[in-house]
Amino acid sequence: MVTTTVPVTVGPARPRRGGAPGGHRGRGAHLVPGGLRWILPGFVLSVGLIYYSIGYSGYLSFFDWGGGRRAMTPVGADNYVEAFSDPVFWTAIRNTAVFFVAVFAVQVVGGVLFAAAMHSKIYLANLYKVIIVIPVVVAPATLAPAHIQVWQTDGTLNRILDAVGLDVLVQGWLGQSTTSLLVITVVGCWGSVGFGFILFYAGMAQIDPEILEAARIDGGGNLRILYSIVLPSLRPTTFSLAILNFITALKLFDTVWLITQGGPAHSSEFLGTMIYSEVAASSRNLGYASALSMILLVVAVVTSVLIQRRSRERTPVEATVARV
């Protein structure tokens, strides 16, 4: 009986304040036992480790450092200058934007349609559901060999294209800098439609059937109902997905590293792979990696706040539904 199917409750990162049992200001407040030590373990672990890391990262970003016993050279803001003047950095930013827009669009459209279809009467609904959710629950790292098998030159996709007479399209998808980002993006869509589906499916289950019934009696068709009743009620979910997807695109690592390693010629590089290379390569520079991390952090925070603000500007859900 978990009613965490959050879509209708809150926007991301903003829990409701106070609430009924939240603040014990009222009667008998002095009787309520103190709770600091109950909060402390989780607080120290998460806030401590995370704030420490961010602070240390900010500090390191002003040095050149190979890690361990090697010397730390203070370099001022050079790491940031280097990042902003590095064409690979801008490729990564562009890739992040492309990946985000494409995956988000496919996830929302695909997720809504699958969710609506599975709330209707269709055969094999559960089998279909399992198939589109498997890419979400199985680790991207585990599935990477399957994607390589699909996209490599003598792989499944080229064979399908050959079989249906589209052999002009047959090409080495993974080895070309023009198609590597396409592969990563399609793989990203493949792995995220199921997640959108689960959220939208849960969101749709919360729509009052009576409203749908009323709309039908008033002569509303399937598409009209989808557009005027269902979609407006899924707005909060969609904004949550936007933030999640943006962060995913910024930090993208697993799939990229295992399928293209950010190549060829850095054409499918993301901030995640750039930072990893700087930390793990033998020519590591933890200072540069830290500078990239700080940039990533700032972009992530600013964008999340912007998306969130936008999610609250529009008309509230209830008002939209009532107007139909």
Binding site: T4, F43, Y128, P145, F253, Y276, L286, S293
Partner: protein, 262 residues
């Protein structure tokens, strides 16, 4: 949601949905079918016979199990404190925690790598478990607190009047009543910890400390480019998760739907 009154529209909907599922099947089908080429089941027996194979699963179980235990305890305790107990500047502390809600782990690897080297934690499971726990706790606390807020205060007051101390209230009231949310969160944490790749790759540098997500690379080294065996290994690695999902569908979906808010 879609109402299909006529047989024609019903068939049309069925056809459209079926076609839409096809692209999702292709990689899965490619993986399974290619894994049988050449030696057939022999690929699988060869993979399972590789020494150290089981070790990857054991390591993943250690990482995921420890993360779950730490997160479960820390989360329920914090939710209890934030929701039902008296804490000075409660909301300030809460917001400090929530500020880290959407933090991507990649931001932490450079400073944590430097720290782990200095403290000699590199190549220990703690270097992976602690960051995983730290990154998930803000989110699990947010969800759990929302749930615990919904448990009536009167239950706890009655218990206190009956002479129960805070520990008793926690174990005998909160823990049992919070079970539904705890199950959802545990599954979510399990998926995330089991599927973690970046943190183990950076911190578990020892050969025999690999986790399941590092198996593809392990087998690529092992077999060079023997694709069927690499794919057989991927199938074997994916199987436990798939079985867990299919048999616990409801719980998985609840856990992930809770993740929407993150």
């Amino acid at each position: 949601m879609f109402e299909t009154r006529t047989l024609r529209s019903r068939l049309l909907l069925q056809l459209v949905v079926t076609l839409a599922v096809v692209p999702f099947v292709i990689p899965l089908y490619a993986m399974v079918s290619r894994s049988f080429t050449g030696a057939g089941w022999g690929n699988y027996t060869a993979v399972l016979a590789v020494p150290g194979f089981a070790r990857f699963f054991l390591n993943s179980a250690i990482v995921a199990g420890a993360s779950v235990v730490i997160i479960y305890l820390a989360t329920l305790m914090a939710a209890f404190g934030f929701s039902k107990l008296r804490v000075k500047r409660k909301e300030v502390l809460f917001w400090m925690m929530m500020a880290a809600l959407t933090l991507p782990e990649v931001v932490l690897i450079a400073p944590l790598y430097a720290t782990a080297v200095r403290l000699g934690l590199l190549g220990t499971f703690w270097s992976v478990i602690l960051p995983i726990a730290a990154l998930q706790i803000p989110f699990t606390v947010l969800i759990a607190r929302g749930y615990v807020d919904g448990i009536p205060d009167t239950l706890f007051e009655a218990a206190r009047l009956d002479g129960a101390n805070t520990w008793r209230m926690f174990w005998n009231i909160l823990v049992p009543l919070a079970r539904p949310i705890a199950v959802a969160l545990i599954i979510l944490v399990l998926i995330n910890a089991w599927n973690a790749y970046l943190l183990p790759k950076v911190f578990l540098i020892d050969q025999d400390m690999g986790v399941v997500t590092m198996l593809p690379e392990f087998f690529r080294r092992q077999y060079n480019d023997d694709t069927p065996k690499i794919l057989a290994a991927a199938v074997v690695t994916a199987l436990p998760t798939v079985i867990a999902y299919v048999s616990l569908q409801k719980h998985f979906e609840r856990g992930m739907a809770a993740g929407a808010i993150k």
